[in-house]
Symmetry: C2
Subunit: 561 residues, 2 copies
């Protein structure tokens, strides 16, 4: 008889461990215990099922070649025993046994192991909100949540929808339920959208875009309680007011499920996840843990962090599969990459955010640019905003964030790779990235962003962020905001303030006398490149105090009605 | 008066140098001499203009904000003097002067310089083919070529089109002119499509795909001469036959234009390009050169190479702009990245190809996989083929090639970044790449490809390539090609040979007795993953000689009618 590998948890990480272990050790006895009904499913696919992009619920737990990943599949194709509806109750480490209970019958059984794998995942956080048990209140965490929401949507019970939380799950929920036929409001406790994922400046611009499509956002607002009638939710009460609601989606994040590990005396880390070494071994060398239930190491900071993402669960699954069958593979950590798509906008980020970097003591420079994701003359091109965070001393790239209708995930993947190596701006500028009109620009937007940071570091360009310009306007600073777009472009959308002066770039060299030489000049255009040219012209002409506004009007979120 | 910066060449590299130099030095006198009519244009955009994706010819030389980049623009916005129709004749290095001739009037002028920049580009190679001067014979190298072809297409003179050459320009020409209403034939001297860019295995599969859309290809065939009637081309005569043609596009590559440099006594490198150091300085420290006319260093091999690509011209432009104004920026070299889009297929490559690596003495392992570019259940997902080349000893990644309707450029950019750092398979497996269903799979296709190479290196999986299987079939080897797809899938398309046996994966464990134990077994499926499972099952069951065919039927090009 081969070695006994017992896996607790059958959603993502567990089945991956089992599959890898099976390939490496045909003789092993591999068993998965899963409390729920579904196994090996694509939780990340739920929003697309709800929005109708994916028609068939079964697709969420089928292989690429169309076979349902149910216990029969695991037995027939993989030789793996999967027991669903089986809840692990306790680990007897001394005797290497796990007690489990059949959820339906209550019957208890004992499973022996040589190697035990904890893939117990995470539990949705229940926020301190009164009346969450009302009808019409939903979650979007487990696969079984999806058909419940779908049914309610189809029954016309999603008209005034409130999504609580604008993290990854909240944004996925918004993407899933948003429709011009519904009123969708997101309530976020923090001040901006996707807090902790996007810096506030990008969060604001993202929200501006979604707002223009019809999403309502309430930021810096705390949900206190729900109110209902006949047991059904009718209102969301916040610290600032109330919102009518016939459907509420609670999406305030997850917490590692460590109960079993904790009760077995395994070490729990400072973040609340199970502590593991780089081989994904817990404090008991015969017990491995992975996925949402463990804590990870951030490669940049060396600090522990929670990272409940499907990609880590899967990649760690391969590593644990190696190690429970005698291998020695290592998971080096995470750099904090995340991507999402919501209401036509792509969002991607990696590494440290601006505030995160400052809080860690880095002396940083940043730049935000607006540009096209491929040559502007190519019809499929779209705009993107990229923001890079760089350590001043070493010119090491610490982070990148991008939003837009255009391609940002590629740029984030390249920067995630750079960060893995501690890459600098000079490294970025020397990367041999692919260029052809349908894919990129001759100088990739990412490199353009790096060049801008470099220009700032070298004093070639001086900038204000949109937030800084807004603060100057509000403070009543005396300066000229020189908009160098054409009059037609200016008329379409501009910053409404007497300090704004329009003067087309092409005329600037000839009309320098029209620009006050004694005042601070801040140049602005649509996306930033003309403002840059204008600032160089003015400096060349002896203007002393010239700056440009980063990312132009594309980066300006302060004119929402 | 500021320093005199004289730039010869106004297509891509030259204007970039000028723009950067102007930003850094407002006082410099910057002059560009350009022989042709158009400046600062997007040569890469020509195919899209021809195919109608770009309607307006002017877009090819306009800024992102819609202003034509003509001499007036350069003067007004940039303070740069651009002289078109001005051909540089000779460099007087001792006196730092350049003689040039007005192409229209024949008048000669002399231009002084402090720093001279050679951006003389490349010339299309004229192959030894008779009668290239017939009417109906076209090039696709200079912007002025585009309207000529466009006009001929609109005049109905593109019915039987022959494209000579299937390198980057040839493929762009195919993409531009292909239509179901035309007969388009590509004639390639080498044995496969995109030789030197794609390995033959991928080249064959790419061609199979384009062939199924209607493209005719003739490989390993040499064009000897053209024949015509009334001065107009009617036939292409090759060493193997003839092809009717009313339009011929000659696309056999380019050669660096080094005449001026050579005559001035500057060192020309072994490859035929102008020799430059990492600061893009020629053998005369006051003369810089960049773009198509110089030779580059391959970062992996350290060898000199020609790399006539727009992205290098632009990136080097920034570096030369720095250095002619007193800076010291370096261009470290190229790794050989290239991307293109042709007839709905994306093609991308970086680093060394398989044969290239072997020729350089590397002991390599490769893997080809077929997979989806994002989660298979996401409706926008598409298939891709990826092939990775890895150095066995160090597990260093040497190259990646990808083709498919799906996303391959992102994966190539990540590998180009890895290669820059000498990255290994372990590094790849530890990259924190972004995952969400619209962007990727939980384990990115690229990482999946790396895992496959690793499995091969560790003996966990043994494979044959499609070419090896085809050779076995042709040789008459005695083996079983075990197709583990369903009977329905098998019926749709299969390899027609008595050695092929169909046995669905889900039944394999129960029907092991049906598989001959004394023969070599090669498993095959649609894309490779079921074949992998099947091979592990067979090995686990004691079958000694089991391999799988890489990339499944997706990687099989040998059943073209």
């Amino acid at each position: 008889m081969g070695r006994k590998i017992l896996i607790i948890g059958g959603v993502a990480a567990g089945p991956k461990v089992a599959a890898r272990a099976r390939r490496l050790d045909p003789d092993a006895q591999i068993t998965i215990l899963e409390k729920g009904e579904y196994i090996s499913y694509a939780g990340c696919g739920m929003p697309y099922y709800l929005s109708g992009k994916i028609h068939d619920f079964d697709h969420l737990y089928s292989t690429a070649y169309g076979v349902k990943r149910d216990p029969e599949f695991f037995k027939a194709e993989r030789g793996i025993d999967v027991l669903t509806g089986m809840e692990a109750l306790a680990i007897d480490r001394a005797n290497k046994k796990v007690t489990a209970r059949n959820v339906a019958t209550g019957e208890e059984s004992v499973f022996e192991y040589d190697k035990l794998v904890l893939a117990t995942g995470s539990n949705p956080i229940t926020p301190p909100i009164e009346n969450l048990n009302l009808k019409g209140v939903y979650r979007l965490n487990r696969l079984s949540d999806a058909p419940i929401i779908k049914q309610a949507m189809e029954a016309g019970e999603f008209n005034d929808v409130v999504v609580i939380g604008s993290g990854f799950i909240g944004m996925e929920a918004i993407d899933a339920v948003f429709s011009p036929m519904r009123t969708v409001t997101v309530v976020e406790f923090k001040d901006t959208m996707l807090p902790g994922i996007l810096d506030p400046d990008l969060g604001k611009i993202l929200y501006k875009n979604l707002y223009e499509q019809g999403l309502e956002g309430r930021f810096g607002e705390k949900v206190l309680r729900l109110e209902g009638q006949d047991g059904k939710v009718t209102k969301v009460i916040t610290d600032k007011g109330e919102i009518p609601a016939d459907a509420v989606v609670v999406a305030v994040g997850v917490r590692p499920n460590v109960k079993l590990a904790q009760e077995a005396g395994l070490t729990i880390g400072e973040t609340g996840g199970i502590l593991v070494n780089e081989y994904m071994q817990t404090s008991d060398p015969d017990i491995y843990a992975l996925g949402d239930c463990v804590e990870n190491t951030n490669i940049i900071t060396g600090k522990k962090t929670l990272a409940p993402m499907a990609t880590y669960a899967n990649r760690q699954g391969r590593i644990v599969g190696d190690n429970v069958t005698g291998g020695k593979s290592a998971f080096k950590g995470v750099v904090g990459t995340g991507v999402l798509h919501c209401m036509g906008m792509n969002v991607a980020r990696t590494g440290l955010g601006e505030n995160q970097a400052r809080d860690l003591g880095y002396d940083i420079e940043t730049a935000m640019i607006s540009t096209f994701d491929m040559t502007h003359y190519y019809p499929a091109s779209n705009k993107v905003l990229l923001k890079m965070i760089v350590d001043k001393k070493t010119q090491r790239i610490l982070g990148l964030q991008g939003i837009g209708k255009g391609e940002v995930a590629k740029r984030v993947d390249v920067v995630a790779t750079l960060i893995y190596y501690g890459g600098t701006l000079d490294d970025l500028l020397n990367l041999d990235l692919g260029y052809a009109p349908p894919f990129s620009t001759p100088i990739d937007p990412l490199v353009h962003c790096g060049n801008t940071v470099k220009n700032k570091l070298e004093g070639i360009v001086n900038t204000y962020t949109a937030a800084e310009v807004q603060a100057k306007l509000e403070r009543g600073d005396d300066f000229v905001l020189l908009d160098v777009r054409t009059p037609q472009q200016f008329a379409t959308r501009n910053i409404d303030d007497p300090r704004v002066q329009q003067l087309t770039l092409g005329e600037l060299r000839a009309r320098l006398a029209d620009v006050p030489k004694d005042k601070e000049i801040v140049t602005v255009c649509a996306m930033g490149s003309r403002a840059y040219e204008a600032s160089r012209i003015l400096k060349g002409a002896g203007f002393k105090d010239v700056k440009l506004m980063e990312a132009g009007m594309e980066g300006w979120p302060y004119d929402m009605e």
